[in-house]
Amino acid sequence: MSRSDAIGLAYLVTIIAFILALRFLSSPTTAPLGNRIGALGMAIAIGATFAQAGLHNYWSILIVMLVSAPIGAYAARAVKMTAMPQMVALFNGVGGGAAALVALSDFHQVAPEPGRIKADVGISIMLSALIGSVSFAGSLVAFGKLQELISGRPIVYPGQKLVNGALLTALLVLAIVVLAGQQRQTLVIALLCGALLFGVLFVLPIGGADMPVVISLLNAFTGLAAAATGFVLHNNVLIVSGMLVGASGTLLTMLMGRAMNRSLANVLFGAFGQVVAGTAGAAAGVDGASVRSATAEDVAVMLAYAKKVVVVPGYGLAVAQAQHDVRTLADLLEQRGVEVTYAIHPVAGRMPGHMNVLLAEANVPYPQLKEMDEANPEFPRTDVALVIGANDVVNPDARSNAGSPIYGMPILNVDESKQVVVLKRSMNPGFAGIDNPLFLNPRTVMLFGDAKDSVEKLIGSVKNV
């Protein structure tokens, strides 16, 4: 067996390890082991690459790796769970950037003279450079929005779609010119810069509430860029891994779109949160109903004498860092014999599954975390639905008001429970800027204030019941 065959076999082991890692993610009990198998697979691939014949610059590569590994490890250890969407966006960008740089340096290697580059390799280099750069710049903008370094509101200007369309067309033309034989390094660098600009312009008009979709999409992009790099280097492990990531990102993007009842095009080009602001108000208060507000003591009595309480957490809970207090409240209620579960909407939080991680961090056992399809049949048997920092995902207009911008979006049917308590900072509408008739429902009471303060007051009051 030749050395290159041995390396190829090692890469095959890596592919198996990655597939197993994803396979083991089907259950929280097996997932940690799966992740370690994946890491082992990665180590094997890196080792095999170093064993490759004719590899130069061992020491500089090794030193760069030894210096950058602790940076990645430190970031991963230090990041707060609420900041996980930013972290994932950043790693997405870093991966995409690496793919683009590999494309750039490989172009330099394979195309020393015009006309020597093969079509398949050339196309792959262009794709890797384009998608990688878009992913890099787009991810950094998404990071900035999530970290609130730049405004999370959609940034729009007249003719935006036209500008973006023209830029993309220009980039594709440039790529074709390079492939047609104009293999100048400057053109490739211009392509990279243009793609970076496009990545920025493409994410800027997308609002903060749509970030789960954007992060999933950029995840898919980086996977595709890695796969394209695999075609450049004729390396199967890159092709397979890249496509696994691409499939994952695509699937999550589709799921997020379905959970918000919106097409991908609507998310990317709709500038949601800006357009709908004008239509809000149509449904509110027409029947003269008013909002009932309650004190923490009232709510504590309701909770303490309930048989079944369902907590509906939204992003407001994460922002207020109230997940640990919610867990304490749930413990108190459970000691009194109350059954407590959590109903989690697919887009609760700022990335797919974010709320589950936040509650798991607060030591909530995962069997108590119910997905939407599992939670909805339970609401008619629920005494109190405790809505904390969630708004649009519990808006009954999505079910019944065909004029509502979120009409058709699947929601948690909290209004079917005997009583609803909404913890909310104020009567300001949510991310999407839409009024919520749930607040006017006669079975609903509002507890105004910061989520953390309110939950702390509830804890104190439940102790005194």
Binding site: A21, I46, S60, M87, G223, L244, P352
Partner: protein
């Protein structure tokens, strides 16, 4: 007949897409964030490409810098991705810890096999 390399690679690509959709559609919503950070770590495989390119002979200085920058980004991607996923997955517990020790980071080993669900093995620590 000898199949050209590009056809073999396209075959691998298509099969990978189907395997990916098959495997990932079985991941529960609860684990979608670890799925994203885990796949994030996996696309760090681009590090392999970066090492290959950085290891080519006869490079101009600036291309060598570009390739080494790719190695640096790839390494951070790989290490950070796996570490953060491991940290997150360690938080998912079937039962609450016996004693509430609060939000201690990286507490592990409280996962237990439920008597009602004995077929689910625990992770070896």
């Amino acid at each position: 007949m000898h199949t050209s390399q590009i056809i073999v690679e396209l075959t691998v690509l298509v099969l990978a897409i189907f395997v990916g959709f098959e495997v990932i559609s079985k991941v529960p919503t609860m684990l979608h964030t670890p799925l994203m950070s885990g796949t994030n770590a996996i696309h760090g495989i681009v590090l392999v490409g970066a090492i290959v390119v950085a290891g080519l002979p006869h490079q101009s200085t600036w291309i060598r810098i570009v390739a080494l920058a790719a190695v640096a980004l790839g390494t951070m991607n790989v290490v950070g991705g796996f570490v953060v996923t491991d940290r997150m997955l360690g938080m998912f517990r079937r039962r609450a810890p016996v004693r509430d020790s609060g939000p201690v980071k990286g507490v592990r080993g409280n996962r237990e096999v439920s008597p009602t669900n004995p077929e689910v093995p625990d992770e070896p620590e």
